[in-house]
């Protein structure tokens, strides 16, 4: 008790000492609020907040600290009580409580263990209030809070925390349901905690609450829970005996659709890899720090002390046994050391796992621990799962053989028995998974071959017999294992998955050992693989990055060299690329490490740019666009940076560091901009993250989205038209403000597409996937388009017409149209106008800079109503003056002339004078009213049956001119098209 008191005192002094800043903020607030009325206090706070962001932060943090530290304060004493403090906080906060949320997260992650109990209570209260008021970001705080609940710990404080957070989540269930990730995280957390809570009545009651909570979420929001991945099954297995979960299990197995229409069954879940965030969420920050320290700093051989400390703190009680599984899953799935660490004398992961296994005291815990270790083996798929997840198991077996053969034996035994026993209906899948794991292990040279492990004299006969029976392929070496493997030519290694693994092995074994026939025949089959032609690889000219290398840190340099060695990746899916991806991931990880020197970013970018030149030269878009091919195409090493970016929180410092790296790359290789756009569109991992591009744009030297987007689309246009078309819909959808007003962008697109691509875009528009014009900006863009090439203009009009924008919107364009200069726009407009009003009345075309023309009057009755007689006459007069060639036609039509006469009769003298010339036409009519030829001509011209007649102005006099114009239109697109085909031969031919 004395000891406890001492610790409490220490913690207390720590809390009050460390956040000096918080204390200072608190005293600022109290100085403003002490001894004044509530109203005055409020005004004072508000006034202070108004002074600027630093003052705002002071007040927020000050009130926040008051809430945390003054629970017992008498309200009458200082005039402030913590409930009021929260109310004030809510009132004065101008950033949606962001400052407070960040501070809470920081305290939880860094200081929770040091907080005094009252302070913890207050923190829970505060979070509850934040949740109640639906503050944006409160779900993140809840998740951080859940992380503080230690697994395998039933001490009162931990139970209190588990219960308090659960109460918040239960009370605010509606709110919880709004956040998919919170649902999944809460289910993962409490499913895991249920196991710890048994025995006393209090714990039973808590367990019941947890069971009800988890079940209701699982039943109602199974899809969200699915995102957890296969470890959801592992946790559900541990609670399967609880009657409520038994029922759930029945549904999962027999009636998966009842849970969610998209849920096809347990296999779906088992085949999806658990995301790291779930594996990591069951370790408290302190556990995580300690494990990471061990796996990154502690030398192999000196780990004992650290293990002892960890064990004493977290693994010393019987209740803590369940934590081992969390630790093992964390080490397998989350702790993925870089190659540099792997090749150093740092404590390897398998050693920690060995320690966790050997110190296991109960059988149940031991078998759960083994399952946790092998969990990623069972449904392993080389495409989806990582070698790093399965590596610890094989290495712990391998390395324990000498010092602890019993460990190896029990693990091998487990591996054999889990195949039929994990879930009998899926035995085939599990066998396949374990086999793929073993294959992959040999392929990746984790172990050169497995026979020394499987067929080792240290194992007892029965186990060896069982292994031989289950894994004949892997355990038929009688000769002592020799490392001859290196003789294998490296090229074969990339050649075929199956071949090299067995080959090397059999090569060694051949002379000494001949297995049964079946084995021989299978060997024969495998031999065939050997002679398959080696895939053609693009021969890259050597890249010289030595000048950069010298400037890199040693560890980074090694990795870059590794990349350089394996550079000429033949196919995206080849193991070679995978290896490259892994190296790339390590590089990224290293960049994100705290001690990374950001000065190196630029040099690193230069190296990467040089090394991955080929990526920027080849086709980005797969030839045939399917989900798989797209997903495959985003598997390039360079895209790992993008992937990491997608997985991060945007306010993270790592996030901005990666952006800096990209920005450096962008300076050296501008193509990376559209590669990012492509990645964001194509990768499933990036779904809904298109806005990352905006962050990227802001991080570049260009600094703004519009410029960056235009530059990237331009680069894309120059390099790959197919890609440009592929990106177009998402660009327009995601960045409407930048794109919809940009004539430049539209011109970029229409300047290079061919008719097939135009058609594709039109289809997108018609289907509603793409909006390229908006009412407010379309007019402007079309006006800009008047200067473009003929085919470009036609494309623009086609795209415009595909939209359902009322024609009135663009009528003002008429004042920009000149008869001779804008045949494209005029003809398109004309066609459209005819569709607007189906009357076959004759039309006239504008030819001068008049501010409108008769067709506009006809097409839009609303406009007509607003026009005065004078305006109409003005138009007609203009028409008369300008349509020198066609006026005979137009003004020889009976209805027009009749109308003119009518008007003349009814209008006043002033008008008669003003438009005397116009009216004189009508007078002529009277004279020549009986002349038939004109009316014949008129009829022919005014019934525009053929397209040609309609697009071309119906004037006999200008026939020669117009036909040459139409020829021009016909021929013009072709050169553009040809030029384009040359630039994107593959694109056009593949269609």
């Amino acid at each position: 008790a004395e000891r406890q008191a001492e610790r409490g005192r220490e913690a207390g002094s720590l809390l009050s000492r460390e956040p000096n800043r918080l204390e200072r903020c608190m005293s600022i607030v109290t100085s403003m609020t002490a001894g004044v009325s509530e109203r005055e206090a409020n005004d004072a706070l508000n006034a202070h907040v108004c002074k600027g962001p630093p003052q705002h932060e002071e007040v927020c943090l000050g009130l926040f600290t008051l809430v945390l530290t003054e629970p017992a304060q008498d309200a009458g004493d200082s005039g402030v009580c913590w409930r009021n403090c929260y109310r004030d906080l809510a009132l004065v906060s101008r950033d949606g409580m962001n400052i407070v949320l960040n501070k809470i997260n920081q305290i939880l992650m860094e200081k929770y263990l040091k907080l005094q109990d009252t302070c913890r209570t207050q923190l829970v209260w505060l979070v509850r209030e934040l949740v109640k008021s639906g503050v944006l970001g409160a779900d993140g705080v809840c998740m951080t809070f859940m992380k503080q609940i230690a697994g395998g710990d039933v001490t009162a404080k931990n139970i209190w925390l588990a219960e308090s957070v659960l109460d918040i989540l239960t009370e605010q269930r509606e709110w919880v349901l709004k956040s998919g990730i919170l649902i999944a995280m809460a289910v993962y957390t409490y499913l895991r905690l249920i196991v710890d809570h048994h025995g006393t009545a209090q714990l039973q009651a808590l367990r019941q609450k947890e069971v009800d909570f988890c079940l209701s979420l699982l039943r109602e929001r199974f899809m969200e829970c699915l995102m957890i991945g296969r470890d959801l099954v592992r946790l559900l297995q541990n609670v399967a005996r609880i009657p409520e979960f038994e029922l759930l299990w029945k549904d999962i197995i027999h009636n998966p659709q009842a849970l969610s229409p998209q849920f096809t069954g347990i296999l779906q879940l088992l085949q999806s890899r658990t995301s790291r965030k779930f594996l990591a969420c069951r370790l408290t920050p302190d556990m995580e720090t300690k494990l990471l320290f061990m796996t990154s700093r502690v030398r192999f051989g000196q780990q004992k002390r650290y293990q002892d400390w960890f064990q004493r703190q977290y693994l010393s009680t019987p209740d803590s046994q369940s934590l081992r599984c969390d630790l093992i899953r964390y080490i397998c799935g989350v702790v993925h050391p870089s190659n540099e660490v792997l090749s150093s004398d740092i404590l390897p992961r398998w050693a920690i796992i060995g320690w966790l296994l050997t110190t296991c005291t109960s059988n149940v815990a031991a078998s759960n621990a083994k399952l946790a270790l092998f969990y990623d083996w069972l449904f392993f798929s080389p495409d989806k799962d990582s070698i790093m997840n399965i590596e610890p198991a094989i290495l712990v077996m391998h390395h324990s053989m000498k010092p602890h053969p019993a460990i190896t034996a029990t693990l091998l035994d487990f591996m054999c028995r889990i195949i039929p026993n994990f879930y009998p209906p899926l035995e085939g899948h599990v066998r396949q998974g374990v086999f793929s794991s073993l294959n992959h292990i040999v392929e990746k040279r984790v172990l050169a071959h497995l026979a020394p492990l499987f067929d080792n004299p240290k194992l007892d006969k029965e186990l060896r017999a069982m292994l031989r029976e289950k894994f004949p392929e892997f355990c038929s070496s009688p000769s002592p294992p020799v490392e001859v493997k290196l003789e294998e030519p490296v090229s074969v290694e990339m050649d075929n998955h199956m071949s090299d693994k067995d080959e090397g092995f059999y090569d060694n074994a051949e002379a000494a050992f001949s297995d049964d026939e079946e084995d021989l025949s299978s060997r024969g089959k495998k031999r065939e693989f050997r002679f398959h032609p080696i895939k053609e690889t693009v021969v890259e000219e050597p890249v010289d990055i030595t000048p950069y290398l010298d400037q890199l840190d040693e560890s980074l340099r090694d990795k870059v060299l590794q990349l350089q060695k394996g550079r000429c990746a033949p196919l995206p899916s080849s193991p070679d690329t995978e290896a490259q991806c892994e190296v790339m991931q390590e590089i990224v990880d290293q960049v994100l490490e705290e001690d990374f020197d950001s000065e190196q970013l630029s040099v690193l970018a230069s190296c990467l740019q040089e090394l991955f030149k080929a990526h920027f030269r080849g086709e980005v878009l797969p030839e045939e666009i399917t989900e798989e091919s797209l997903e495959e195409s985003v598997g390039k090493p360079l895209y790992l940076i993008f992937r990491n970016l997608c997985q991060m929180q945007e306010d993270n410092s790592s996030f901005s560091l990666l952006l800096d790296l990209l920005s450096e790359l962008y300076q050296k290789q501008p193509k990376i901009g559209y590669h990012l756009l492509y990645y964001l569109r194509a990768s499933k991992a990036a779904a809904g993250k298109m806005n990352l591009y905006e962050s990227f744009a802001q991080a570049t030297q260009l600094g703004d989205l519009h410029t960056c987007l235009m530059m990237d689309m331009k680069a894309c246009q120059e390099d790959d038209v197919r890609l440009l078309c592929h990106l177009t819909p998402s660009i327009y959808t995601e960045f409407p403000d930048e794109t919809l007003r940009s004539g430049e962008l539209l011109n970029m697109i229409v300047a290079v597409i061919d008719s097939a691509q135009l058609q594709e875009l039109v289809c997108h528009v018609m289907m509603g996937n793409l909006v390229m014009f908006r009412k407010d900006s379309v007019l402007n863009i079309l006006i800009q388009s008047l200067d473009w090439e003929t085919f470009e203009q036609y494309c623009a009009w086609q795209l415009f017409l595909a939209h359902n924008i009322p024609l009135e919107t663009i009528i003002p364009i008429l004042q920009h149209l000149k008869y001779k200069e804008h045949p494209e726009a005029l003809s398109c407009l004309l066609l459209q106008l005819r569709r607007e009003k189906a009357s076959p009345a004759p039309r006239a075309l504008p030819s001068a800079s008049d501010s409108g023309c008769p067709c506009s009057l006809r097409s839009s009755s609303s406009k007509l109503a607003q026009l005065t007689l004078e305006q109409i006459l003005e138009h007609l007069d203009n028409l008369r003056l300008n349509l020198t060639n066609t006026k005979q036609n137009f003004f020889s039509q009976t209805p027009i002339l009749q109308a003119l006469q009518h008007v003349q009769a009814s209008c006043d003298e002033a008008h008669k004078m003003k438009f005397s010339d116009l009216f004189s036409l009508a007078e002529e009519y009277e004279d020549s009213s009986s002349k038939p030829p004109k009316s014949r001509r008129k009829a022919a011209l005014s019934s525009p049956r053929s397209r040609k007649n309609a697009t071309q102005p119906p004037n006999a006099e200008e026939e020669s001119g117009s036909s040459s114009a139409s020829e021009e239109e016909d021929t013009k697109p072709k050169p553009t098209k040809r030029k384009r085909k040359g630039s994107s031969a593959v694109g056009s031919d593949s269609d």
Binding site: R3, E6, E10, L14, Q313
Partner: protein, 100 residues
């Protein structure tokens, strides 16, 4: 962040006779308790930082509170030789404070 004004001294730099030392270390082992003639409990603890390890002599009840793995800040300590070993002591007005 930390209350100490000076950056802590590394263990490798501790020399006999130095005074007024600020050191941050982790406790590795707690030695046996010995009692002095006038009834004080004394423990010799092995402590270390990233540069080296040293024995510290901890007197009376505070020695019962520390345990291996604790991270402690020593303020106003001094170093001297005892039985041929360089040993660290808490000086007058100095203290040991657990910080992790």
């Amino acid at each position: 962040m930390n209350g100490g004004t000076d950056p802590p001294l590394f263990i490798k730099d501790i020399k006999p006779g130095l005074k007024n030392l600020n050191v941050v270390f982790i406790v590795l082992e707690i030695g046996r308790v010995t009692k002095t003639k006038d009834g004080h409990e004394v423990r010799s603890c092995k402590v270390a930082d990233k540069t080296g390890s040293i024995t510290i002599s901890v007197w009376d009840e505070i020695g019962g509170l520390i345990q291996p793995g604790d991270i402690i800040r020593l303020t106003r300590g001094y170093a001297s030789m005892w039985k041929g070993c360089l040993t660290l002591y808490t000086g007058r007005g100095g203290e040991l404070q657990k910080i992790g």
